[in-house]
Structure formats: C-alpha cells, structure tokens
C-alpha cells in the first residue's frame, strides 16, 4: 500500500463571501478535498501577510487566500488591500524561489459553491502533484 501524499492546505476564507460559499458547497454535498483546513476571517483584508508566511514556514503545502470579488467587499474596500498583499507575497516568493504557486488568491462569492468546489479541487490536485512543501520537514529555520 503506497503512502500517498495528502497535502495540508490552509485556506483563509472571508466570512461574508468565501466562507458562505464554502458552506453552500458543503450543504449541497459538493466535492471538497479534505486537505483544505479552513480558517475564517471576517474580511480577506484581515489576512496579514505574516499569517501566510507563518503557515508556509510551519510546513503548509499550500495556502489559499479567498475573499469577495473586488467591488463587492462587505466592508467596501478590504479586499483591495488583500489583492495588493497577495501581489506582494507572490513577488517575494517568486524572487526568493520559494515556489510561489503554493500560494493563491481566489474571489469566491457567497453563491459560488460550485466555484469553491472547483478551485479547491484544482489546487489540491496541483499541490498533490507538486509534493510536500520543502519546509514541512525542515527543522533549522
């Protein structure tokens, strides 16, 4: 029996859109990969880049940032900050060669249960193919 790699993916979901969308996917019994560990934040703008960096260094194989579509933020402008922070993190990871594709940003609205199921499944497949994070077994950090 092969020990198949089961990724651990941290998802930061905003309460009003993404989390509700995820909940919709759940109640509609849509397929959601078990690798996604959801952390609910009130707004995607609450996602401190340090959360993402901490998750990656602790060994998360993937990190998903999710929020309301731009223009639809429950708090009007929070997700505009999220977008800039994602761009910043992506740039840092790319420049340092830290496998920037282990981090992603998705806009998932409260009615997009199907989208939530799709993007989590796709990301899980991608991460599974990539393999474990090189930080997962690294002690000397």
């Amino acid at each position: 029996m092969s020990a198949e790699f089961q990724p651990q993916i941290i998802g930061f979901l905003c309460n009003w859109c993404s989390y509700t969308g995820a909940d919709l996917a759940g109640t509609a019994r849509m397929k959601i990969p078990p690798s996604i560990r959801v952390i609910r934040v009130m707004c995607s703008g609450r996602i401190d880049p340090l959360f993402v960096l901490r998750a990656l260094i602790m060994g998360a194989d993937g990190v998903m940032m999710m929020g309301c579509h731009p223009g639809d933020c429950h708090y009007q402008k929070g997700n505009y900050n999220t977008r800039r922070r994602y761009i910043m993190l992506n740039s840092i990871m790319e420049t340092l060669g830290m496998e920037a594709d282990r981090l992603g940003l998705w806009w998932v609205s409260a009615s997009e249960g199907v989208k939530y199921s799709r993007v989590t499944t796709e990301f899980d497949e991608k991460i599974t193919k990539k393999g474990p994070s090189p930080f997962a077994s690294e002690i000397f950090l």
Binding site: R54, R83, I87, M88, L96
Partner: protein
C-alpha cells in the same frame, strides 16, 4: 534643473565652509553633519548649534555610522525641527528620510537639505580595523574619475540612485573636474538657489552637464546586474535561503539600523512573536525537532513583507551583521522586484504613497482569477 554655483575650494573644504557660513550668518540655527570624533577617521552625526563646534564637521567623510534619515526622523517625530537646520546627508539617507516622512515618522519642514552625487561609503568594520582614513585621496580621485572606489559597501557599488535632486543643494562630486581645487553646487530648489546666490565667494557655475554622472551610472548598473544575476543563480530556492540565513543569531541588528524599520515596537520583538510552550509543541509533534532559538527565517521574510518595498539600498544591515550575512543583497533584490511590480520609487517623491498603504480599485486584474 541646470543652475549651478561654483566655489573655488576643494569639495571637502567647500562644503565645510558652506556650513560655517550658514551658521555664522544666522541663515540656519543648527547644522546636522558628520563630526570628527578622533584622529583615526571616526565620525558621528551631530546636531550643532554653536559655531565653535562646527570646525570639526567632516560632512562628506565616506562613512555612515547610522543612516541619517533615521537620525533626522528621531528628532522630528513629534513635529518639525524647531529652528532652521542645515542637514548634510547622502542620497540614500535622504530617500530614507522621505520614506519615513511618508509614514508620519518625521518632517521635512525647516531643513535645508545638502547632499552630493555620491561615490559611496566604506564599511564600518574598516574603521574598527584602523585602516580607514588612509584612503582619502584615493577615494576622491576615484569619485572624480567616475570610478568605483575599492572596498566600499556592496550596496554602494551597485547603487544607481546617487543623484539626489530632492535636496536643496547638491555637490557634484562624481565626475567632477579638479575636485581638490573647486566644487560645483547643483541647485534643484528655489531655496537652494536663494541660499547659494547669497553665498560669498560663489560664482555662477554655468549649466550642469548631466552626462557627468552617466559613466558611473553605467558602471554601477553593471555591478547591480552582476549582483542580482549572482543572487538568482546561487541564492534562490528554499535550500539556498536556509543556507544564507542559517548563521543568523536573531540579534535583529539589521532591523535596528534599517532606516525604514521605524516601528516603536517591532512585531518581531513583541509578545506576538514569542515562542511559548504551545507553539513549540506543534513543531515538536509535526516536525520532530526545533532549532533553538527559532524564528530567524521568519523574521527576515516578515521584515521583507513589511519594508522591502521601501528599501533604499543603504546597506546598513549588511554592515552591522555580526555573522556577515548578505542581508542587503537579499533585501535589495526583493525590494527591486517589489518596486517594479508596484512601479514605486522609494524616497523620490514625498507625494507618492507607499504601496502597502494604498490601492486602486482597478489594478492587478490578473490577481484572483486563477
């Protein structure tokens, strides 16, 4: 910007006498400049109000004991300087100060800003070794010939932002003619033109040939490209990053001297970053081990996420690292990427908002659409 004034004195004498004149005439009531502290080349930034002390000013000594931008911020934190002050600082220090002003950590009011087209500074360790000071003539000769002086900071070798037109008076050191006998002052602002216009002994210097700095800029750009290519080839990747930062003691000296790192309580010195028993438990269970003390790589990545977009490339961080980690190389490399992505030029214009503190409703349309 082409108006200039010429003084018939060597650059070191010229800037020194300018400061003496400014203080003695009452044009300013204070002078902020490097001051001689011993005969071995040691200097410290000082704020002088008494003409008696100004004789020890060595404004363009190629040493940076502290980034002057940070120093100026320290006494304009709660409000503008109380009296007009002439401040002499290098281009990167001026850019750092402007970055701090954007963050409400200082005020530009009441300063007469004096700078130069910069030939670079020597590492602080050269002072500790007692080898500093013997290079003076060699240093100015290199600057005059648009060459990169041997032994200066790595960040200085690769700096292309060395023409500080944000200042009021800029001494044209790079590519100068006859730097031991005369010096040219560029006057980018109204205030600079007025003050230089009243300076006894100064004459019209004619139009400034901006090509004078072109040669050095080309050389520095080559150095920068080489440095960045070397980084991309040898320090990219998780394993390489860990190797780079393995010697890190977690002393945070780099953050302490960084002019942009101005938070009164740094996240990484606060309780948020403490490793308490519950945190240790996670690492022991999941990874089977923990480096003690931990959090060094996280500190650098976190600090990058906070300030790299504003990095002015002064090189203080690498200079003070006790274990010779090339912090400045990593941070300027990341800073360069971030500044390109956000089309941001740190310290160029006080009106340009810091990227992490602003946004546009329509931008980066490709983000979030995967």
């Amino acid at each position: 910007m082409s108006e200039t004034r010429r003084i018939n004195k060597g650059i070191e004498e010229g800037v020194h006498d300018l400061l003496v004149h400014l203080l003695e005439s009452g044009t300013v009531q204070g002078v902020f400049s490097l001051m001689k502290t011993n005969e071995e080349g040691g200097v410290d930034y000082s704020l002088i109000t008494d003409v008696e002390h100004i004789q020890n000013a060595v404004p363009f000594q190629p040493l940076m004991p502290v980034n002057a931008g940070r120093a100026l911020s320290l006494f304009t934190l709660d409000g503008p300087a109380p009296k007009p002050i002439a401040a002499v600082l290098r281009p990167c220090e001026l850019r750092a100060f402007i970055e701090l002003v954007k963050r409400a950590q200082g005020s530009l009011e009441n300063f007469l800003l004096i700078s130069l087209t910069c030939g670079g500074v020597y590492p602080l360790k050269s002072l500790a070794r007692g080898t500093f000071g013997s290079d003076s003539a060699e240093y100015w000769s290199s600057v005059e010939k648009s060459e990169i002086p041997e032994g200066i900071r790595l960040t200085c070798r690769s700096c292309v932002d060395f023409v500080p037109l944000q200042a009021d008076i800029v001494f044209a050191a790079v590519g100068a003619e006859n730097i031991e006998k005369e010096c040219l002052m560029l006057l980018p602002t109204e205030n600079g033109r007025k003050i230089a216009g009243d300076l006894p002994g100064a004459q019209g210097g004619g139009k400034y040939d901006e090509g004078r700095t072109g040669d050095l800029k080309k050389k520095r750009l080559e150095e920068k490209d080489r440095l960045f290519k070397d980084f991309d080839a040898n320090r990219k990747g998780q394993a390489e990053m860990i190797k780079t930062f393995t010697p890190c003691l977690g002393c945070h000296a780099c953050g302490e001297v960084c002019p942009i790192c101005s938070c009164l309580l740094c996240t990484f010195d606060s309780k948020t970053s403490d490793y308490n028993p519950e945190n240790i438990d996670f690492d022991l269970n999941h990874k089977g081990g923990l480096k003690v003390p931990t959090g060094n790589l996280f500190y650098h990545l976190g600090r990058m996420s906070h300030m790299a977009v504003s990095c002015v490339g002064c090189g203080m961080c690498s200079d003070v690292c006790p274990v010779n980690i090339p912090v400045a190389t990593v941070f300027t490399r990341v800073g360069d990427s971030l500044q390109k992505v956000f089309e941001y030029q740190p310290g160029l214009d006080v009106e340009q908002p810091v990227p992490s503190g602003t946004f546009k409703e329509d931008e980066f349309a490709q983000a979030g659409e995967q």
